[in-house]
Point group: C2
């Protein structure tokens, strides 16, 4: 097929281009990297211009620019809103990377770099597919709006502001993005559900200053101890989140969906090997996939306080900190959950300490009806691009933008994932299989071709 030939002949060019993108340390969570995050925005805009997009804009925001592009050559055909993000997670701990996080390296058929899977590598699949389609036909087969943000890892504040103010510029017939994962290697997956996310930080203050633990130990509240007791009490013995009202709005799992999930090619043994845990854990009464995809959680993401250096220091610190998050499922409301979490913390902390509670970011859960025609086209495209059948899955991660688009525009959101669960998104040695990168380009290009036949406006 002509399309595959174009893609094949540009393998080196696409990879070289992606390497360039991955070399930019666009860490949005750390303000010191601001110039690099902005450089990544410029890189994306330039790339869209090179492909041929007639309209490409960098839209300034309060934080990092949005890249917006339009190419609508076919008045009668559907319009795709293609989304991606050019920011990445921090690479720490650096010493656990085999090769430096911002020097892309290929080992054993995998491309290693921060952002290889989340999301630069996966978004680049679409850039390459568009490039190939334009080389083939002089223009894309359907209409496109492209929106790429640099704040995904910090809760996308500017993206939401843009949606509120410029709803007309994101009007489309469907949303397409690749920022999710496949189930096991070799099973192409379309994601129809995502968890929401609230991310919190708490600071607990006991004494006004650090104290000698010998002189003062036993009579003053130790904020480290109180932090431990607080988080121990936020789960019950069955692994459930012990916050009154937390589960009130959770949609019960339908028997049909439980059956479908149980039929997926998921191996608990492989999952244990992947994660390297000595044993699994979680909410009683649910399978591992249900716990990961369909049930809400509360997880500690970081704790610190007191002496953490070499050797011993006998101190009762003034303060202790924790970062933690709740993953949310339909139909939990993030604002309400934040209120419940705040209330319960206030209730559990003893009067002998002070605390400061912050919600750092927030995002809604989402679930779609995958029986719609556009999902079936996506499944066909993936099956053809990889030469084997694809499946429908949910995911435990969060893409707040998807939930927001669903809530505002009620259009289908098609999430084709090319990452693998053991590819270390958010961890050292993040990588992407080259097989999935190139199979992704073939599938995505086919999907865009198939959309020419889709009725507009649903």
């Amino acid at each position: 097929m002509e399309l595959d030939a174009v893609i094949e002949s540009h393998r080196e060019a696409y990879l070289t281009d992606l390497f360039e993108f991955l070399r930019i340390p666009s860490i949005s969570t750390q303000s010191a990297y601001r110039p690099e995050v902005e450089r990544a925005a410029h890189w994306v805009a330039q790339r869209l211009r090179t492909i041929g997009f007639p309209t490409v804009e960098l839209i300034a925001t309060e934080l990092y620019p949005l890249v917006y592009a339009e190419w609508k050559p076919h008045p009668g055909r559907p319009t795709v809103l293609l989304y991606g993000h050019y920011d990445v997670q921090p690479p720490e701990p650096l010493e656990l990377w085999t090769s430096p996080p911002f020097e892309p390296t290929i080992r054993n058929g995998h491309l290693y770099a921060r952002g290889a899977a989340d999301d630069k590598g996966q978004f680049h699949i679409h850039l390459a597919a568009l490039d190939a389609l334009v080389r083939l036909g002089g223009r894309p087969p359907v209409n496109f709006r492209v929106l790429v943000e640099g704040e995904e890892e910090v809760g996308s504040p500017s993206l939401y502001a843009f949606l509120r103010q410029h709803a007309d510029r994101v009007q489309a017939d469907l949303l397409v993005l690749s920022d999710t994962e496949m189930l096991p290697p070799g099973v192409q997956s379309i994601t129809y559900g995502l968890r929401g996310l609230n991310y919190y930080q708490i600071e607990i203050t006991g004494p006004a200053r650090d104290l000698h633990s010998g002189v003062f130990g036993g009579a003053v509240p130790n904020p480290l101890q109180i932090l431990c007791e607080l988080f121990a009490r936020l789960h019950d013995r069955n692994g459930r989140v012990a916050i009154p009202g937390f589960y009130d709005a959770v949609a019960p799992l339908a028997r049909a969906e439980r059956r479908q999930l149980a039929a997926l090619p998921f191996s608990e043994r492989r999952f244990r090997q992947q994660t390297g845990v000595a044993g699994l854990s979680g909410e009683k009464g649910y399978t591992t996939l249900e716990r990961l995809w369909c049930r809400p959680t509360l997880e500690l993401n970081g704790i610190w306080g007191g002496y953490t250096g070499e050797g011993a220091k006998t101190v009762i610190p003034s303060r202790a900190w924790a970062k933690f998050s709740t993953r949310l499922v339909p139909h939990q409301d993030p604002a309400r959950i934040a209120r419940l979490v705040r209330q319960q913390i206030r209730k559990l902390l003893p009067p002998s300490v002070r605390h400061r509670f912050e919600v750092l970011s927030t995002g809604r859960p989402w679930v779609a009806d995958y029986r719609q025609p556009v999902f079936q086209l996506a499944r066909q495209a993936l099956s053809e691009g990889f030469g084997r059948p694809a499946v429908f899955i949910r995911e435990g991660g969060s893409i707040p933008f998807v939930a927001e688009i669903d809530r505002r525009f009620h259009i289908p959101c098609v999430l084709m994932g090319f990452g693998l669960p053991d590819e270390n998104a958010h961890a050292p040695d993040e990588h992407l299989a080259l097989e999935n990168y190139f199979g992704g380009i073939r599938s995505v290009a086919r999907f865009y071709q198939k959309l020419t036949g889709l009725a507009r406006g649903r």
Copy 2:
């Protein structure tokens, strides 16, 4: 009096000398400071030579040198073993110091520097007193052995090795040291009891690598959560340490001692102001002084794991760490307590995680009979040096060497403290009141004069 005149005329000289000592960042807990720790040892040796000690040695050890000096001009009189330590705690967090920790600064009658109270400043009181006595009489009034170590803040391993191998070189009629505190300002104190200390570190491993908390959250053991649950379960609801056997050997508090402690000029309100806590806490059924001095504790000294930087990172970390310690009272045995702690941790941790438990240092508790004559001489000397009555107290901190000397030689240990509980030993802005420094020199010199009348060998 002649002695006071000599001291008065050397005020500037003694302070200048102490400043020099305090400027050496002899942080024994951090191996990068090795040259500075050794420089402090040389400084002490040189100072003892200047005073006139005929025998001064630097004794090499596996870690930091012991400074040993002897001057025994009076065969018929008692021999004092004077102890001090020239190492200090790390100064972190640096940003909380008003003036840099190793640039001694006087503000409002207080000398600010790391080590000002613990123990360089207090040990220097003895150096200055000896200097004044020698200026006055050409030699000290009794015999002296001086032993100064550089490993007090790391558990004194070399000191114990020296005691085992050279018991003859530390033979004396009494041990004297100043590394403790006074009760409130204006009440000179002699300490007759100290808590022991075991210091531990634990590492808990869940997944083999850091995981994305969205993708994996809810189904794998989170080591941060498990650390919190572990430490929550090491205390019961009454603030007691929940480790079977922990209290077995604890000597019950005699009614007479409880009465004496209750009569001390201790203000709970002032203690709360000093520490800046919103409320006090601790073991039910005991007063604050009893909790601080006579009851054992388990305190977290540091916790860390996961993401602790700016903003949000949705990670389930592979590992979590805690540093913690148990303060021990007579007659708890440190080795047995370490075994009990290890056993209980092993029992409480779920099989889904791995862990590594270490005992970083260990030291015995101690209590003395303050009715012995030498304690009464010390009380008189303090009363004269400061012009007001002194009291007997216990302390919550640990000086393992005192317990060890007591156990080996059964000689009285006289602990005259010149620090104040709010002088931030082990914390930022550590300081010593100049009034107590100079009052200390006057008292200590008098004490050594009074010892001439003490019977040898008890």
